[in-house]
């Protein structure tokens, strides 16, 4: 799993939260005021997406990215841990994904 603090050093990452697969909050960095809420929501999101992928025959979930006009979010699932990074501007999402991908290799 990528180091939470290394990730937070990217200026495009506004905050990041580390949580468990079941939605338990572990650690946060940056401007995130409500890490516990993020952990629960992303736990629910990864669970629903994992089930969707399972039914579609796509295998294990590795990451989810969602974006809008004002910001984007990257959720990386690895083992029992879930790493969530909030990114702005949203156009920086591919770059953050590339950094995370490189750190996982």
């Amino acid at each position: 799993m990528a180091n939470l603090r290394d990730l937070a050093e990217l200026p495009e990452v506004k905050s990041a939260v580390l949580s468990s697969e079941s939605g338990a909050f572990l650690e946060s960095v940056g401007e995130e005021p409500d890490g516990e809420n993020v952990a629960a929501q992303m736990g629910f999101l990864t669970s629903a997406m994992a089930q969707a992928g399972d039914r579609a025959g796509l295998g294990a979930l590795s990451r989810i990215a969602f974006s809008g006009q004002r910001g984007a979010c990257l959720v990386v699932a690895q083992g029992d841990a879930v790493l969530t990074a909030f990114v702005a501007p949203p156009a920086a999402l591919p770059m953050v994904e590339a950094v995370l991908g490189a750190s996982r290799r």
Binding site: A52, Q69, A91
Partner: protein
Amino acid sequence: MQTILRTLLDVTGVGAAIVLDGAGHLVCHRGRADYDKRRCEQVGGNLAKAVDAVELRQEDWETIAAHYANGKLLLRNLGSPGGREHVLAVIGDRTLNFSLATVAIRVAAVKLKKALGTGSAGLAAAAASQTPVTLPLPPKPGESRVGDSKPTLPGLNWSQTSSAGLSRVPVADPASGAFLHRSARELARHVGPIAKVYVEESVRRVSPDGPFSLPLAKKLVEDLAFQIEDPDDRASFRRALAKEV
């Protein structure tokens, strides 16, 4: 709507395309033999929960991409045409070209919004025509199909990938338009034909309330640079346009 979804299945690696309403019910679907209606409904139910979770964080979400060991699930928010929320979902296997699929989905979303906006008659017709379609399986790696080298997508002309689509972007003056064309051309060196789509999106971000003008050029270049993953390529792109910003 069936015709629009059928276009998505023409993209290599796409197994199914689904339109869901806000409650996760299947409005319309099109899939290869192994993605029948029942299976798509099951996937749709899970996707509706996922969308609910995303909306808790970002109500104005536009896209969701989930990456799996053997493929991807790509979602596009269709908004509320006709007064009800809708989502387009595409299931892709390992052979899916992410950038190409993204463009195809974007094009399909525009058409679906129009189709859904026509009202309940369109939805009823879509529901009535829920007939699964069996298509040829995608080619195995190493194989090729006739026409694969130049995929055809509605709204995109691969023989004119320079900047043809930019004519839709509002600009303050001809010089601003020329700058957008040069930006798309430079960006295309690094990201390919999707460059003009990125430029259109970037203009919407840096100039949301009016036509694009040259004083915003620097902001546009910085925004576009994020689309280039390789740091050296990113620097090269910035250098190429530096003297104009």
